[in-house]
Every structure is written in C-alpha cells, then in structure tokens.
Symmetry: C2
Subunit: 377 residues, 2 copies
C-alpha cells in the first residue's frame, strides 16, 4: 500500500485532527446569561483575587500546550512551524486518545532561543503544562531549563524525557533476559541530540556506570577540542576509562548500543565486535540504522527499533500520555528524576514474561496507564 | 436566584468549558503508523514545500485564536490574564455552539504593546484567524493595525467591530420605526474605548454625518487640549458643527444616544432634553446607565441594553460566530468595511416587523446565520 498517499488523503479528509467540543450545551437566553455575560463575571472576580483559582474554574486545570518551533521534526529536521503542525496535532490527539488529557498545538514562527522563551512565558497563563516538542539541541536544553526556572507550571521536553523513560524500560527487561547487571555493562550512546543526552543522564541516575557517548563518528573524550558546552557537560559524566577514537572503536566489546541520531549505517561487523548477548536499540525513523534481521544474523540478542512493523517498538506514546494524566490529577509541579525511573520500572514490569521479542508493552495495552500512575505516585 | 453562586458552581463543575475531541479514533498499530509516525511525514513534507498547504492538511484551516491580555474585561477592566480566561473560554464555546468554528483561548502574561504584537506573530502559524478580545484602548488600535499589516491571516478585534455591527443593525431598524433619516440625525456617542470608537467609524461609513463624541463628561472638540492621538483622530471625523462643553450640553436635541463606556448615570432630565422619538442604546453591563423603564418614562421611543432580561439585547454573539464561519468557508483574508455594513443590514433585515421592543434578533434565532453569510458573500 502507498502509505504516503493514504496519509495525505486522510490528512486532507479530516483537515483538523482535533476539534473543540463543549462540555455543556448552551440552549437558552438563561444559559447564555449564567455562563457568559453577565454572570461569567463571578469566576473572573474570584480568579482576580487569587490567580491559582484559574485551575479550579477554567480549562487551565486540564490543558497541555504542545509547543514546537519545527526545528527538529522526525527525521526531517528543520522544516519550520507550519510543516510541523501535523505532528503536533497528532501528539495532541494521542494525549486525548490515550489519557483523556486536553492538549493544544502551538507552533512558533521563531527559532531564536530568547524569543521562544519569552513567547512561551507570555502564553503560559492558559495552560497547566508546557510540553516542548521537536526543538533542536542544544537550544532545547536552555529553553527547558529557563522555562522550568521562570514558570510556575511544569515544563517537559518529551523528546528528551519521554524517550529516555521508554529506553530505560526496554533496557531493564533486556538486562533481565541476558542476565547482565546495570553496574557491569558497557553502554555506547551514539547521537547527542535531545534524546541521546537525556538517555545518558537517566541511565546514570539508574545506576549504569560505564557509558561512552559518541557524536556521529567520534567518542566524546578529553582529547577532543571541538566540544560545545552541552557536550562538555556530557564528557564530565561519561567515559570513566577515558577512551578516545571512533565509534567503531568504542563499540568493540560493548554490551548495549543505543542509537538515537539521524539515520546512518550500523554494520554487521560493528555488531559482531560487541560483547555476547548484545543489546541494540536502533531508533532512527523511518529506517533503523540496521535492520533487525541483519543485527540478529550478526549475533545480537535483542533488537529494538522505532518501527511498528517489528517487535520492540520504542515510542514515547508509551509514556507521555500517562505521565501527564497522572501529574494533572495530582497537580504536581514537575516530573522529578525519581518519577522518571519509577515510570520506567513500571513500564518494564508491565511485560509479564519479557523475551527478546517483547521487552516493552505496545501502545494499545491501556492497563499500563494505571501501573505508571501508581508507580510514580 | 443567586446567579453569582450558580455561575461559580457551574464553572467549578465543568472546570473546562471546551475540550479537545478527535475527529477520527486511533485504535490500532496500523492507525498509529499511518497518521502518526512514520507516515505523518507525508503532510509535513508537503507543507514544508508550500506553507499555505497547512490550511489543507491541519487544524490551521479551521481554528481561531481568541486572544486577550485581560486589560479590559467586561466591566471589571484590568483583571489580568488568568481572570479573563472564563470569558475567553466561553467566547470559544460560543464560536463552536453557534457556528461550528473551532476556537482556542490564549491569554497573555504581558500588557506591553510591542510584546503582545511579537508574541501573537510568533504563535500565528497554528491559526487561521486572530480574534483580539478585551484589550484596552488605545493599545488595542495599534495592536490590531500592526498585526493586520504584518500577518498574512485575518485579525479582528471583536470588541470594536462585532459590537459596531450589532449597534448599526439596531440603529437601522430604530430609524425605520421612528421615520428618521441617517443623514439628518444627531448622534451622541459617549465612551471612546474600543467599542465607541469603532461604532463612530462604522456609522460614518454607513452615512450618518452628525456625530458628537464624548469621553466621559466632555465633548471631543477643537477647544480640548488634552486629547491623545486616538481622540485627535476621532475629532477629525466628528463634531461637524464644532460644539463644545459637557455631555449634558451635547445630548440636548440629540436623536440617538449610544453609551458604551463603564457604568455611569444617565438622568431622566438628559433623556427629556433629547429630540422627540429619542433612541437610546445604554450598553453598560451588568447595569445599564439608565434602566429602560425610566428612559421610557422620560420620553425615549426605543431603548436597547446589554441585558438578556430586557428586550433589544445588544450582544456581539449575534455577529461574530457567523462572520467567522463565513470568512473561514470563503478563506478571505480580512473583513472589509463593506462586509461589516452588509452584515449589519442583514441582521436588521432579519427582524421581520421591527418594533420598539424588537429592533434586533436574539441569539438563538439561528437562521440569521445564513442571512449574514449571504449578505457579505
């Protein structure tokens, strides 16, 4: 089937994927007077006295903003705000479909860090939560940090934290299957964009100690002189044995290989050079860096990808709807590191008998919602 | 009944008045792959080639932003963004209820003119239309003008133009009933905020020639030395006989009195000093400047207010849903002056036998939608 064409036809047919819906109909002059002018003044005056009451009386209590500048969209990268709208709109649809959370897409006609921060701060009063999406690194790190510090509502960059949680969940089960221990394994992470950086930080928090970071072909090591601020920070927390060289050199004898950069090729020889029972997460979309059948042929024990037509699909739709649903219900102000690890453990535990073909649940197993909520509560 | 309490209870019960709704459910892995990753890339790539296609493939084609800084809300004035949310949310609900247009509220944490303009420009790619709401004068004029010039989507300040259209509609029927002619009448407009200023401009375009503008107690005349830029512009187009003095002096022998400022008192003596068959629009909320029974007792022929419990309710819900619905269907880029006058004429014509108790339809006569659409097409 020509999925490109089918997708275009569906998008044209539906045009908007989400629409607004009234929770209560307005059918008479009396309705109009009670809820709109003049009596709408009653909640207005209450909120004017205490702005926190906006959560009680308005959509602020249940509405997430899905915000992007269109600079790092799928594998298409910098396609601009309008072209990123289909992704943001579906993300909002998934929030509703999986977790009954109201989410609305906002795409920004600027890619300037300061202007993005001030624009988001200016529109924040409508929302209960800011979900950053597909904003390129390293700007995404500063934007998230600044907004977290300057806003009184939660800010969450899903490409970082959602992806990291799903990866950790998969890794927990992969280690269980292979009998490897988190403090003994050598992990190579290739690609230091938003997701790769967040995965490294979460694995360290979880107790993995030996992580080697690579940006494209080269190991992030002390001998590098071309590291930007963000990569310097990564160097400070990775590469305990201070190895240097190429990706191929780093991968030799590694137990786990996580690839979260733009599509490149991972050769069978590189897989063969890894430790026994190698674990490979090849997460580029739409084509993984190595097709699972080739990786298995070269000796890999467990392979995960971003694709829905292979087992072990790493997709943050497994996490973000429920993280938000739970956080909205509990009205927390931030998702802490502990909550992220608990969510990953719950997601891993949701697979009853983990096997190389099933290290994580698939998105439509909706009972995992309760597990995640319980675990991070 | 305690409407304040009832309103609070309803707002707390419903919390959010509008929610998001999926137009199509997502129920399988295949659905997810087709509409979300990876095949969502198809519309993304099309829009990247031509951003205008965002209207075809996304919610941009049918979504209005209702934007306020909370500086001129109802009769509560500057209550801030959070406290204005109930009004904006209901406005969005009315868009949906009356015209099936999707609208989303955005309230701004800034009242700085330049910052409002840049913030709205930055979030514009999501929307097909910017509806400005409850932004105080004179900032609202500059904000609307600048955005109109700098954005390629329509910008409409409903407090100005929606209100002006409903007022003109009421006036057209009031003149018919009293047998007065638009070019002979003396009209006094008191209150030069957003609505008053727009009413003056629209009446002039319609062919009314003798309009006297007042700001609170004083006539806007050449003898004034305290006029800001906007009021200077009003002076240039009003007061052809160059009268000066107080509101009481201006109102003597006037045919029409339009009051669109904050609540003040209009005395029976002032009404008595007007021409025979006086027409009074006392539109302050929640209490009009003079109660209709007192105005009639003092000799007024026709009285309109903003209240739903008296005849002749002047409410822009009579106009904005259909103006937008029609404009969205036709994908026009702006509502021109001609369209505004045509809409007012259609709204007036929608009352079959105008009488002093019925100069305009009421909001739930939904057949007026078609009339307005036809008239401005």
């Amino acid at each position: 089937m020509d999925y490109n064409r089918l997708s275009l036809e569906l998008h044209e047919k539906f045009q908007w994927k989400i629409e607004t819906k009234l929770k209560t109909p307005i059918t008479s002059k009396e309705d109009l007077a009670t809820v709109y002018s003049p009596w709408v003044a009653a909640p207005c005056m209450e909120i004017a006295k205490d702005t926190k009451l906006a959560k009680k009386y308005t959509l602020k209590g249940n509405t997430v903003a899905v915000i992007s500048d269109g600079s790092a969209v799928l594998w298409l990268w910098n396609i601009g705000p309008e072209a990123s709208l289909p992704v943001m709109e579906w993300k909002c649809a998934l929030f509703k479909e999986f977790a009954w959370v109201n989410a609305f897409p906002i795409v920004l006609d600027t890619q300037d860090t300061q202007e993005i921060i001030s624009t988001i701060k200016n529109i924040a009063p409508t929302f209960w939560w800011i979900n950053l999406e597909d904003i390129s690194a390293p700007r995404c790190f500063e934007i998230e940090e600044r907004l977290k510090a300057e806003l009184d509502i939660p800010v969450f960059h899903d490409d970082q934290h959602g992806t990291a949680i799903v990866c950790l969940a998969g890794l927990i089960n992969a280690l269980k299957i292979t009998g490897k221990n988190k403090s003994d394994i050598k992990v190579v992470v290739n690609g230091l964009w938003a997701a790769g950086t967040a995965i490294i930080k979460l694995l360290l928090l979880y107790g993995v100690t030996d992580i080697i970071a690579c940006d494209s072909k080269w190991v992030v090591s002390k001998s590098r002189t071309d590291l930007n601020n963000e990569k310097q920070k990564i160097l400070n927390i990775t590469n305990p044995n201070n190895i240097s060289g190429t990706l191929s050199e780093a991968i030799a004898s590694a137990d786990v290989f996580l690839w979260v950069s733009a599509p490149k090729s991972l050769s069978q020889d590189m897989v063969k050079s890894m430790n026994t029972d190698a674990i490979i997460f090849a997460m580029a979309n739409p084509d993984p860096e190595i097709m699972p059948e080739l990786a298995y042929e070269a000796g890999a024990k467990i392979v995960a990808t971003g694709r829905s037509d292979y087992p072990n699909q790493i997709n943050n739709v497994l996490v973000f709807p429920w993280i938000f649903k739970w956080a909205l219900a509990a009205w927390v102000n931030a998702i802490t590191d502990d909550m992220k690890i608990s969510a990953a453990q719950a997601l891993a535990a949701a697979v009853e008998n983990p096997s190389p073909e099933k290290i994580i649940p698939w998105p439509f197993e909706d009972w995992i919602a309760g597990l995640i909520a319980q675990s991070i509560a």
